[in-house]
């Protein structure tokens, strides 16, 4: 049995959950919230099933070419954390898991509208980056338990940081009072750009053939709309986008009232931001930095080389260390620390995706 059907169902379920959570914010109807949670749980069950099926298939794939490998070793080598596709799936799975735990613990559904878009974005990225979904043979450098724990713990950490980002974004929305405030302008425009890019990529995606989709990021990014070769379409797209941002700026303040109406308090969000960073920081430090170094040392003979990926994970680490010290020792509170949490997660995204996509693109030979 193929795992893809379950992955597809879960992806659609998360996207449906995102829409429902946002609808829940807008209409504030309890039943809608309940539906959103139910869809999420359904998607989570499907995704877990898919992961297990994939794990089992990988197990047979591995033992077929490594008959001498023991049972435990084979299970570890088959763990579905072996390439970009599988690690992003695991990220989404962890993100939804943490989200469900928080929803259960705080008895509050509104955060879903901020967390599920992250899951949707990761799933969309899988499809547009053209990363291979097939089970591939494991090349020698990847045959290491250290690497496995490194990837698993880092992504759990990233998921916790993802939740802190969602909560920090919601926090910033809640504490702004006027449309003239710098933070208000910042977040309304950021959300506007975020949504425009999301919608634009969605349109690209729908207008491309399956083969072209694989190269969307490299060749077709926003080419159907904002960067269209037809001047008319491009101009209309730009006007629509600017109007869209203006509308968000005009009506964004309502979001704050909606959140307040849903019993979400800044104090609760602040606590979620802190708690998820407090959980993510040790995971990321131990899994991401330390185990990564141990693995590098056992595979390549150096634990640290200052390559861009390592350096970006160190930058991420400094940002979160800054958050912890600013908040716990210097007593920073409010918007200032929330913005640090947002910056931290942007650094996470850059570490994971930006380094490969943006930096290697800058160096002519790296884009290959």
């Amino acid at each position: 049995m193929s795992s893809f059907i379950f992955f597809d169902i879960s992806a659609w379920a998360y996207i449906a959950a995102m829409v429902t959570y946002i609808a829940f914010l807008v209409v504030g109807n309890k039943t809608v919230g309940l539906i959103a949670s139910t869809i999420t749980i359904f998607g989570f069950i499907c995704q877990s099933t898919a992961v297990i099926i994939r794990w089992i298939s990988s197990y047979y794939f591995w033992t077929a070419s490594n008959p001498a490998s023991g049972f435990i070793e084979s299970i570890l080598r088959a763990a579905p954390l072996r390439n970009l596709y599988e690690s992003l799936i695991f990220f989404v799975w962890s993100l939804i898991l943490i989200h469900l735990l928080i929803e259960f613990k705080y008895k509050n559904r509104s955060l879903g509208a901020f967390v599920t878009p992250l899951a949707a974005l990761a799933l969309l990225f899988i499809d547009i980056s053209g990363t291979s979904k097939e089970i591939q043979p494991l090349i020698p450098a990847l045959q290491s338990n250290w690497l496995l724990f490194h990837v698993m713990l880092s992504f759990l950490g990233y998921a916790a940081f993802g939740v802190s980002f969602a909560a920090a974004a919601a926090y910033i929305v809640m504490v702004t009072v006027s449309r003239k405030e710098k933070t208000y302008i910042f977040w309304s425009i950021t959300i506007g750009i975020f949504l425009i890019v999301l919608i634009g990529m969605g349109i690209d995606f729908l207008s491309l053939s399956a083969i072209e989709r694989g190269e969307l990021i490299q060749n077709h990014f926003l080419k159907t709309t904002l960067r269209s070769s037809s001047g008319g379409i491009a101009a209309v797209s730009w006007i629509v986008s600017i109007v869209f941002i203006f509308v968000i700026w005009q009506f964004g303040l309502r979001l704050k009232n909606i959140l307040t109406g849903l019993n979400l308090t800044p104090a609760m969000l602040d606590e979620i931001v802190y708690k998820s960073i407090a959980a993510g920081f040790p995971l990321f430090t131990v899994g991401g930095l330390l185990m990564g170094a141990v693995w590098a040392n056992s595979a390549w003979g150096t634990y640290w080389t200052w390559d861009p990926k390592e350096t970006w994970s160190l930058i991420t680490w400094f940002v979160y260390a800054l958050y912890l010290h600013a908040r716990l020792v210097r007593g920073w509170r409010g918007k200032r620390v929330a913005i640090l949490a947002v910056i931290g997660f942007i650094a996470v995204i850059f570490t994971y995706i930006g380094v490969n996509l943006v930096l290697s693109g800058l160096h002519a030979y790296g884009s290959g």
Partner: protein, 467 residues
């Protein structure tokens, strides 16, 4: 000065400075040819200004940034800040840990962050016993102070968790120490060994040997492939350490599984084929049903399959044999030994001469029509293994630091210092109870714990009354 170096404000500045400057190093290609970075800068500044910008950047050390004096200075500042700050605070924390806990008045309990008041229709001693039971069930060791009509219980847990921060900070210092020791007393080099070749030195760069103090020999190099695919499954070298003419250690190394001898570690880094080496064709020959015999042959050599009169002559070799899809001709699709094959011209009694290709990865190609077998085991002596050779006495500090940091972070974030006070006052026929708690973090957890202790005790008290 001490105050400045101990301040967390400085730490915040250093965090920001390190993070921002590190970004530069990820954009500018490090230790690269100037042309690479000039081309990069041209994308931002235009072709004409790029060389000038390059010169400025190079002066600032951006081209080898992580070794530039100012980046190192930032790291040193970071280390000093961390040490001074920890030294500055440690005595206070130590006093906090060692200070004996004192009983509190009812009023003081009411001003604690976590508090609870209740009354039971029961005697002073019953209430005291049950709360003592309940507290020790939760792992608290309790001190009592009794008055005439009242008793005060107080207790604390996890006070040493306050030291975890220092363990985390210490581990960062250990990483610095490990890095310095590695840079000072270690080395990193490489060594290419042809199959059968030995060396008593590694190389920092061509012509810059580092003596090893012993001899290392490569017996064999081998790439294993996934069945039916050209994806490598394993890169393996069989290495031997020779000291005073004697073999002292032999190991097959793989990626992720290096060989260490006398502090020097050999990692499987890469491999290749020597362009003009002539090696041995290692063949396993067996007549139908007969025993296998291993032969080491040169190109052009002739062998005989024992007892059959069939002769074979080695006429050709291809590192990666394939049939061209369009022309149908045999060609090599790689210079590496991806799919090595040997051509053997067979000549037997009563048969026409014919030539067959025998593929190493597909032993069935070596089965002759009569059921005799000629297996191509290896073309030995033409591949070299590329080893990374490193000695890093600092690594043990890094590993020690990793363990300390992992444990330290866990304790730091998940174990808190908790204090609980319970005052029990006799009030006519009842016992009036005030419970208070303080913790350095995670108030919610303490609230839950106190909740549990109280409900546990009250159930027991109710239970006793019921009897």
């Amino acid at each position: 000065m001490w105050k400045f170096l101990a301040s967390v404000k400085l730490a915040i500045f250093v965090f920001i400075a390190l993070a921002l400057s590190s970004i530069i190093g990820t954009i500018v290609e490090q230790q690269a040819e100037p042309a690479v970075n000039i081309a990069l800068l041209a994308k931002f500044f235009g072709d004409s200004t790029a060389p000038a910008v390059y010169n400025i950047f190079a002066k600032l050390g951006f081209m080898d940034m992580y070794r530039s004096w100012w980046f190192i200075a930032l790291l040193v500042l970071f280390g000093i800040n961390l040490i001074v700050c920890s030294l500055d605070r440690f005595p206070k924390t130590w006093r906090l840990i060692k200070r004996p806990q004192k009983p509190l008045s009812d009023n003081a309990i009411r001003s604690l962050p976590v508090k609870k008041e209740l009354t039971f229709k029961t005697g002073l001693n019953t209430a005291k016993d049950e709360f003592l039971n309940s507290l020790s069930a939760s792992g608290y060791r309790v001190v009592e102070a009794s008055g005439s009509d009242s008793v005060r219980l107080y207790t604390q847990k996890g006070k040493y968790a306050r030291l975890a921060v220092y363990a985390v900070h210490l581990s960062i210092i250990l990483i610095f120490i490990g890095a310095i020791i590695g840079a000072r007393f270690g080395f990193s080099g490489y060594l290419n060994l042809l199959e059968g070749e030995a060396s008593n030195a590694a190389y920092k760069s061509p012509g810059e040997p580092i003596p090893l103090g012993f001899t290392i020999k490569c017996n064999n190099y081998e790439t294993l492939y996934y069945e039916g695919l050209d994806t490598p499954r394993e890169f393996q070298s069989e290495l031997v350490i020779i000291e005073n003419g004697k073999e002292v250690l032999k190991k097959v190394i793989e990626v992720n599984d290096p060989l260490t001898y006398k502090g020097i570690t050999f990692f499987q880094a890469s491999y290749g084929m020597a362009p003009d080496a002539a090696g041995y064709f290692v063949m396993d020959i067996a007549p139908k049903g007969g025993p296998e015999k291993r032969l080491w042959l040169r190109s052009g050599d002739t062998f005989e399959i024992p007892g059959t009169g069939i002769k074979g002559t080695i006429t050709d070799f291809s590192p990666a044999l394939t049939r061209d899809k369009n022309t149908g001709a045999l060609t090599a699709y790689s210079d590496n030994m991806v799919n090595p094959a040997v051509a053997v011209e067979f000549d037997g009694p009563g048969k026409e001469k014919y030539t067959g290709w025998i593929l190493k990865r597909y032993p069935e190609t070596g089965v002759l029509p009569g059921g005799h077998s000629v297996k191509f085991v290896d073309y030995w002596g033409v591949e070299y293994t590329a080893l990374k050779v490193s000695k890093d006495p600092g690594v043990r500090f890094i590993y020690l630091a990793s363990v300390i940091m992992s444990v330290g972070l866990y304790v730091c974030f998940f174990i808190s210092h908790k204090k609980i006070w319970i005052n029990i006052v006799k009030d006519k026929g009842s016992a009036r109870i005030s419970v208070g708690g303080y913790t350095n973090r995670n108030r919610l957890t303490l609230e839950k714990e106190i909740e549990k202790i109280v409900s546990h005790a009250s159930e027991a008290i109710e239970g006793r009354r019921g009897k």
